[in-house]
Symmetry: C2
Subunit: 206 residues, 2 copies
């Protein structure tokens, strides 16, 4: 298909598609003449994925390139690919000295977490910020939040397990994790709003 049809079928404007092409987020089409390229169904799928990672995942372009590289790797080793793809999302990758996080991991039996895991730094940073802000009540519930996160991870892994191929597992884990963060944040707010309406006894105007 030509770029106009790709735009129509994806609902994404032509200038946006050209921008993705320039940024290397979408592979070039096959040239059918010096000025015209043809695009495939694979381009359409990739376009939807890039849009979701940008608009819903709010990932920076460099992270999206890393994630796409992992998805495109042939015959991935699932655990390593997941680690690399999800590491692409966080702030860095040096080993982090975070004894509180180590204790949390031990309390919950979370073995096998790499010492340089970005999420280890992420948890350490949030704990430090909560402490600076005096949010001791939140810190006191850290283990409750960890249990809820473990439940989420169990659902995540069950979803990944329903795919047979390593490529399918990696694709599903990446979109499930990145879009899943947005989904969980939004579901959490709906549940909060409902619980707050009950607790604080306010009638919500319709």
């Amino acid at each position: 298909m030509r770029i106009a049809e790709l735009s129509r079928r994806s609902g994404i404007p032509v200038p946006t598609i050209k921008y993705y092409l320039r940024e290397g987020l979408l592979p070039p089409g096959e040239l059918s003449s010096p000025n015209q390229a043809r695009y495939s169904e694979a381009h359409l799928s990739r376009l939807q994925l890039v849009r979701a990672l940008l608009e819903i995942g709010r990932l920076p372009i460099a992270s999206i390139k890393d994630v796409l590289a992992e998805i495109d790797r042939p015959k991935p080793d699932v655990h390593t690919a997941l680690g690399r793809a999800l590491k692409a999302i966080g702030p860095g990758d040096e080993a982090v000295d975070a004894p509180e996080v180590d204790e949390l991991l031990a309390r919950h039996g979370w073995e096998g977490v790499h010492p340089s895991a970005t999420a280890r730094r992420g948890v350490a940073e949030v704990i430090a910020a909560l402490r600076r802000l005096g949010a001791h009540q939140t810190l006191a519930r850290l283990d409750d939040y960890a249990e809820a996160a473990q439940r989420v991870a169990e659902i995540d892994l069950a979803v990944v397990g329903e795919h047979d191929s390593p490529e399918g597992k990696v694709y599903s884990a990446v979109i499930g994790t990145i879009l899943g963060d947005a989904l969980l944040a939004a579901l959490r707010r709906l549940a909060q709003e409902s619980a707050s309406a009950r607790t604080h006894g306010l009638k919500v105007k319709k």
Copy 2:
């Protein structure tokens, strides 16, 4: 204290503090001479909050201003203030026609959610994106994710309930929710990595 001490005690460079002042994220100090201002402990706390909302919450500056305005409102009505403060985080505030989200709310007994709640749109957008990406396995687990989100919201509300004053409830809800998203995302990845290490049987290099 002078700006140099504010910088030293907060660990935030003077140019960054000046940037926050220019953007209106930090109220001006009290002028002690035409070229010199003095800052209080309240400035120090506000500075920590702004940094956390920016660096960990990754909120845009306009949203941070909205959130700070809610936190500063005297004698807030808790449910309304929470709604306004957390709405400041999402993409918009028009009423959303999202029958699937309404069904989800009904299935989980989540009453009292405003028709224009930003999170309602957020859930609808993620569902639409997952469908476009063919992530049917994730969609089939929507209710499992909603149950996990409800558990998180119950912990959130318990934390808020430990504060006596309405101001304390709003402050704690805002930082707990915004920093909590980052905390949960990072905890989820740690739990995933551990579960993946077990499931995919890989030894993690230390």
